[in-house]
């Protein structure tokens, strides 16, 4: 703890969501067998890992008062690119029938490279044409989808090499591989956000873009970097998603952007810009994932699951904002 005296009330208010999350986990854990099992831990961590990586990408956009609605579709593009590269040699419906066994890392890098192009375009359009991020990335959402349709001809792609799909089932020290992916991504982003100039620039731009500009920060360049990096993370998300699903279609990743944005906001990334922590983003993603599993374990009717999920989004954010509401 700090040297400062510990304020229990503040601690509770600041971490309200975390407590509620713990409460929920305890309740479901006690009432539902197998919820607190190793298997479930590994399921949740696999789901969380992918969403977390995508949310990390979106977070930079949000912190600079932007947003990225193309996130989900870029995840989908990444997924489709990877999918076409990791098919079994003898798969009858092979996309590139003559393609040999592409090493996984190469497949990943190719997907990252392609996705980054679209992130780059997002960044350029936002910086130089001053198109509001919402619109720029909304347009990109549609464009990337179209491109993905053209690329795959809308056919689903499957028949992957087992070394690829085992990325998800595989474990190291009893912990799924995906967990490590997320860990590395999280540490990397934490470092970037807190220890490098780029991170400071990002927070400064989000806090006051004019101030950043007149302080000599290359605002355009920083934004471009943010959107490009984000797309790179989406590609990784797409890669893992494909491994997890065991197949990919143009619809992969669809709608993930909204969930990622909601997760970030729940985790304290402010839509007013300039605020947001990597640890918060993780909490935000966990809220979603734990909620989903819990509802399934509790056997909540699907239609009602939507209602609950919607309410949780709103309440989690309302709760979190309480601390800012401090009466004047």
């Amino acid at each position: 703890m700090n040297t400062k005296k510990f304020d229990i009330k503040k601690f509770l208010v600041d971490n309200a969501i975390i407590f509620i999350l713990l409460l929920m986990v305890c309740y479901v854990g006690i009432t539902q067998p197998n919820f607190l099992s190793k298997n479930n831990f590994s399921n949740v961590s696999i789901n969380t890992a992918i969403r977390f990586i995508i949310a990390l990408g979106v977070s930079g956009c949000l912190i600079t008062k932007g947003t990225d609605l193309s996130a989900g579709r870029i995840v989908g593009l990444g997924a489709c690119i990877v999918a076409t590269l990791v098919q079994k040699a003898d798969y009858s419906d092979k996309f590139f029938p003559k393609l040999g066994d592409v090493p996984l890392i190469v497949a990943l890098l190719i997907a990252v490279a392609f996705c980054c192009i679209f992130g780059l375009i997002n960044g350029l359009v936002i910086s130089f044409f001053k198109v509001p991020p919402f619109i720029a990335t909304l347009g990109m959402q549609t464009i990337v989808y179209g491109i993905c349709l053209v690329y795959t001809g809308a056919s689903p792609i499957g028949g992957f090499r087992s070394e690829f799909t085992s990325l998800v089932s595989g474990k190291l020290f009893g912990i799924p591989y995906l967990f490590y992916f997320a860990l590395i991504a999280g540490v990397f982003m934490w470092f970037l956000y807190n220890k490098t100039r780029h991170g400071k620039y990002m927070y400064a731009i989000g806090g006051n873009e004019v101030a950043a500009e007149v302080s000599g920060i290359n605002v355009n360049f920083t934004k471009i970097l943010i959107y490009t990096l984000a797309a790179g993370l989406y590609a990784i998300g797409g890669f893992l998603l494909t491994a997890k699903a065991g197949g990919a279609t143009v619809n992969a990743g669809y709608g993930y952007e909204l969930e990622a944005i909601a997760a970030c906001t729940i985790g304290g990334v402010s839509t007013n810009g300039g605020v947001g922590k990597v640890s918060g983003i993780l909490v935000g993603v966990l809220v979603f994932e734990l909620l989903k599993v819990s509802m399934q374990f509790l056997g909540v009717d699907t239609s009602y699951q939507y209602i609950v999920q919607g309410i949780v989004i709103v309440v989690a954010v309302a709760l979190d904002l309480r601390k800012y509401l401090a009466k004047k």
Partner: protein
């Protein structure tokens, strides 16, 4: 070393509908303080923004250290050794004080191949710099915990720490207390000794005469001339700025305070560090000054009276009845108006027209059949006000954000004139206002008082308090420490009360 550190030649700049700069030329000597003066909207800030690369000039050239240069953007300007304190504060509230100071040039350290921000160095240096501007704040604290004046000090600290050859200061003291102003002047003198040129924009005559070596004057986007400060007096500067003689700084006060209209009893904020147990009375037709040091909680007190802040205790008797104010709209309905001190934050509607900005608080008055807004009536009231306050604007449809700071302030005053309140609270009403316009504003205050309105004026300028108030209340540390009648007020007795900490 060339004769001039910096020359701007034939600079012109047009905005839609305005020629903001018309072939302006000035020359800045090294190691001097060069004051730039002119009425609101004369083009001072615009000229500086052109120099600093925020605006692209339409024509003209800049000779810097003897060589023609073109400055593409702020980053470019900073690299060339030009720093600027901006008229509009540019805080990054959510980041630490130190990060605000080192924004864009964070100290780095190398860890292996990776360049990391050197936090320790950043905080240490920030601490040193803060000391220079007489601020003993934790550099790790969020900027948002500071008051406006403290933020301004931070910006000054930032600009002077840039190691620049030219430091532009666009109204750096607009929110500073006397104490802080003194600190600034010490810094400026040090810089001058090091051969740095300072371009200093201010509407405060005494400062100009004290600190500057040369004075350039602009009027309506044109360059009028440059003089050595020692040749000048306030009157000469004013007449060159305004283009005519200005005999008095304060108008004749011939209002007569009448019966008590409002009585505040035991007003206490919900925040322990804010105002407590404040009692005062307001009279019809009086101008009440509210003095004190920055941080004395004058703003908080008035905002509470206006329903923007919460009271823990206290009672307000208005026109003989208790008045329950929960929200500004309650206050406005009761006939109270407030011109806030933070013009950009809580005053202007930047993207809206002058007409909208003027009429917004009094729309109820322009209704036909109880619902339809009568455009003609609105247009009329706007026209009247633009004329009365001589607001410089191409049209009433112009977006207010394109006006100069001073003219924006006048538009906000118009908003409350249009609303016609019985009590008008003005928080630093002449901040950033040129002398000519100041007089106009003072005149309006007197006229209102003569019509039986009550004015409360918060001001950090002693002379303004003394010159304008029928009565002065002084606050210190959240408490009312004294009351002085206007006639008896002096700098000394106000200061005495203002520093009456327990």
């Amino acid at each position: 070393m060339p004769d001039y550190m910096l020359e701007m030649r034939g600079i012109s700049k047009c905005f839609p509908g305005v020629k903001a700069l018309d072939k302006v030329s000035i020359k800045i000597r090294p190691g001097t303080v060069h004051a730039l003066m002119g009425e609101n909207g004369a083009g001072k800030s615009t000229l500086m923004k052109c120099l600093f690369g925020i605006y692209k000039m339409d024509e003209g050239e800049v000779i810097y250290q003897g060589k023609p240069v073109s400055i593409a953007n702020s980053n470019d300007a900073l690299h060339k050794g030009i720093a600027m304190v901006h008229q509009e504060l540019q805080p990054i509230p959510e980041r630490s004080i130190a990060e605000n100071i080192f924004c864009g040039r964070y100290p780095l350290k190398k860890v292996g191949p990776v360049k990391m921000v050197d936090h320790k160095k950043m905080y240490d240096e920030a601490k040193k710099l803060l000391k220079e501007v007489r601020m003993e704040y934790d550099p790790k604290a969020k900027l948002s915990t500071l008051s406006i004046s403290q933020m301004q000090s931070v910006e000054i600290a930032k600009a002077v720490s840039m190691d620049a050859k030219v430091v532009i200061m666009d109204e750096p003291t607009s929110s500073l207390t006397d104490n802080e102003v003194e600190a600034l002047f010490t810094i400026i003198n040090d810089l001058r000794k090091k051969g740095v040129s300072i371009i200093y924009i201010s509407h405060k005559m005494d400062e100009i005469l004290r600190i500057s070596d040369d004075v350039s004057i602009m009027r309506d986007g044109q360059y009028i001339g440059t003089w050595e400060a020692k040749e000048l007096t306030t009157d000469i500067i004013i007449s060159k700025m305004v283009g005519r003689e200005l005999t008095n700084i304060y108008p004749q006060r011939d209002n007569v305070p009448g019966e008590v209209i409002l009585e505040a009893k035991n007003l206490t904020s919900i925040h322990p560090k804010s105002f407590k147990n404040v009692d005062f009375k307001l009279r019809k037709g009086e101008i009440l000054g509210l003095g004190g040091l920055v941080g004395a909680q004058r703003t908080e007190l008035m905002e509470a009276l206006f329903g923007m802040r919460h009271l823990a205790e206290g009672e307000i008797i208005y026109k003989g009845k208790p008045l329950n104010i929960k929200h500004p709209k309650d206050a406005i309905k009761g006939g109270i108006g407030l011109i806030t001190e933070d013009r950009r934050g809580s005053g202007i509607f930047g993207v809206l027209s002058i007409a909208d900005n003027v009429s917004i608080a009094s729309l109820d008055k322009y209704l036909d059949m109880g619902i339809v807004l009568n455009g003609k009536k609105i247009e009329q009231i706007v026209k009247d006000n633009v004329a009365k306050l001589s607001i410089k604007t191409p049209s009433s449809k112009t977006q207010i954000q394109t006006l100069s700071g001073g003219n924006q302030q006048k538009v906000i005053i118009s908003r409350w004139l249009a609303n016609d309140p019985d009590i008008l609270i003005m928080d630093e009403p002449t901040r950033g206002i040129d002398v000519g316009a100041k007089y106009e504003i003072y005149q309006i205050m007197v006229d209102l008082a003569k019509q039986g309105k009550t004015i409360i004026m918060i001001s950090s300028e002693m002379s303004e308090l003394i010159g304008m108030s029928d009565r002065i209340l002084v606050m210190c540390d959240g408490k009312l420490t004294g009351e002085i009648s206007g006639k008896e007020a002096t700098q000394e007795n106000i200061m005495q009360f203002a520093t009456k900490f327990n």
